[in-house]
Point group: C2
């Protein structure tokens, strides 16, 4: 697998993209698009929140036919809790994109992100579409522009592209995502868009995405809040010319590995840019009885406000990690747990087979003063493992969210 | 029911209390006791966290016999994740109290609160016991002293006492509690100690406490973290001389009402003094299909970091309330929801039958600038309701917990 420098959703063959400032946000790009020259096998995972934004309702509805050709995304307004008008606005958006491109509106996916409960300024979007579509392109700049247009409180773009070879055919996968608050995906994610020129059956793609999501987006948390607008979308247009992939195709595992890598990378980029984050926390749980237990335990630690504030304070208050494991709901024997904190600066063992180990506070401070901190939990209950990613809880998280709408 | 001014655990007949500075905390009282002149019918509810502090393990063990006579509590150290030595330290503590008072060590409940994973300085406690017990007393000052000794990051004591009349006999209930971080009780609470001179069957008391806990301590959250040391204890010594209470006793409902009031008051006092809290948030969910749904929904809103930061910022970002209801796990139809924010300064309707209502931002700011904010959610799904209490998430929460151990 080759990682492509400056890779975007436009990196795979046949995908155009672009961004435009239509005036929903005070300034900056706020309307992004991806367009495939040919219909693409498409998979989506969407939020499990009962309160679903109008675009989520639309996407779920039109996915009866998994061949899609375009995705339109606005930032600055979530079009959630907006009633019937919200649904009408999605319909007008899809219709306008379809007409302008000369494709079926039902082959257009719509996504929104931003403030909840404010009517969508649909006129801005409709005139934005007319301006944006003629300028879509295949270049890196076009991919970058789309990646910028989907951001809200994010401070950096999140993009990735990789190349693999399947039976001698070069296949590319590119992606872009946005965070960076209300991040605690559950069977879904914040907005993430992945393109690939691989040929793959739509149902195979959907199963693969579902599986990948469990160990990527579903293992991150910024603040424990599962959004109304979470969605991850993959469009596969087949233009690489490989033999259409199914689980039985030779080299399917190569594709799967690259696909996993792309999604995990985007998930981790969301965490690195979590609202107010100053630290990136990786929690590895090993020796769990079941995979599910491992996931639940790891996720519980990265979600704990007390673990997160301790990380912000660079304080080795490891009892909070044990506490978060203990209330996670997954069973284990506290007497068998070992816990290690590590970073570039070294490692400290806090607990060994349930027994607290006296550690040097200066050494601990050195380890925790790094930006990337790993916590490794060994349970000795079985052979399953999982990794979760989170960030610290800082003054800036409170600042950003105390006054989000103004 | 009469609320007694300056009421403490010493208010009911026959209960002595006191506090002492034994040197676990840098300064201030850190060892508290309650002693009943006669054995008391006792009920406890303890944390559901798998990682249980040593004193919790002790209390669960000795509750095979529900007649107890003393409670000893230290603050500054949780005696959790402390291995076998932690259990030995609890045993020495109970033994020392038992010997000094001339009672069975198994009739002594032990509780601890403070940092996790640091060995308990048991010598301080043992010499503290010798100094404290001769000075226990029945006065308000003694009750106050005990209430002070159990605090950690709390900024104020949490106490309450009430008086009722059962068949002409005056009965009192007194209580004290401590918060104020790692507060997200689950079938339990942070430390709360309630005394009553009522005569009541131990199993009736236990059932009553279990029921009361569901709508008091279990409905509060400061930070979503369920502690390793949560415990609520009630001692009923029968010295009021009322006819022993069972569910069938006349006036049982009067006792139940006063009992509920005491526990809800303590739970709310914990929230008012939540770490860094500047706001007190009451979330009422009405018209739920089941009582459990109502509780889950209300609790989800007070736990949401995004709702809490919006309250801190006095921002009517009501979409976050809908979002938190939506991911709670309890089913409802978003199209039927109504939502109102209110305070002393007035009220604003945000959502009516699922339709967003345009509101005046200045009016909203006025309502949210008060300290006590009520959010009322009407679901139109059934007749059940619940109330949860929470606080905002402020810079000070991050500050307090970024550097808790130093």
């Amino acid at each position: 697998m080759k990682i492509i420098k400056n890779g975007y959703v436009t990196t795979p063959k046949g995908f155009k993209a672009g961004g435009y400032a239509c005036g929903i946000k005070k300034d900056g790009l706020d309307l992004g698009m991806i367009y495939s020259e040919v219909p693409s096998a498409t998979a989506i995972m969407a939020t499990t929140n009962i309160v679903k934004a109008a675009p989520i309702v639309w996407c779920k509805k039109v996915m009866i036919n998994p061949m899609k050709q375009a995705v339109i995304v606005n930032s600055g307004n979530a079009n959630a809790c907006t009633g019937e008008q919200g649904m009408n606005n999605v319909l007008s958006t899809a219709k306008s994109v379809g007409e302008t491109l000369g494709i079926d509106p039902e082959s257009v996916l719509v996504a929104s992100t931003g403030v909840i409960g404010v009517p969508l300024p649909v006129d801005n979007i409709l005139s934005g579409i007319k301006a944006l579509i003629p300028n879509l392109g295949f270049s890196q700049e076009d991919g970058l522009s789309a990646a910028q247009a989907i951001l809200t409180t994010d401070t950096v773009i999140k993009t990735i592209a990789v190349e693999i070879e399947l039976q001698g055919v070069k296949v590319k996968i590119g992606g872009m995502a946005k965070g960076s608050g209300m991040i605690h995906p559950n069977m879904a994610t914040m907005l993430s868009f992945v393109t690939t020129d691989a040929a793959i059956e739509a149902d195979v793609l959907q199963n693969l995405l579902k599986e990948t999501t469990l160990d990527s987006y579903n293992m991150i948390s910024v603040d424990g809040d599962t959004s109304t607008n979470d969605m991850v979308t993959v469009l596969a247009n087949g233009m690489a010319g490989n033999i259409t992939l199914t689980e039985k195709t030779p080299d399917y595992e190569i594709f799967k590995e690259a696909f996993d890598y792309v999604h995990k990378t985007l998930a981790k980029k969301i965490i690195r840019d979590g609202e107010g984050a100053t630290k990136f926390m990786e929690v590895k749980v090993r020796g769990a009885k079941t995979k599910d237990d491992a996931r639940i335990l790891a996720k519980s630690v990265v979600t704990s406000s007390l673990v997160k504030t301790a990380m912000f304070g660079e304080d080795a208050n490891w009892g909070r990690v044990l506490c978060a494991l203990g209330y996670s709901g997954a069973p284990f024997d506290p007497q068998k747990v070992s816990l290690v904190f590590s970073s570039q600066a070294g490692m400290i063992t806090l607990l060994n087979d349930g027994v607290p180990i006296t550690f040097d506070e200066d050494e601990a401070k050195k380890v925790l003063s790094e930006t990337d901190i790993t916590m490794t939990v060994e349970l000795q209950e079985g052979d399953e493992k999982a990794v979760a990613w989170g960030c610290d809880l800082s003054y800036d998280y409170v600042k950003i969210n105390g006054d989000y709408r103004s």
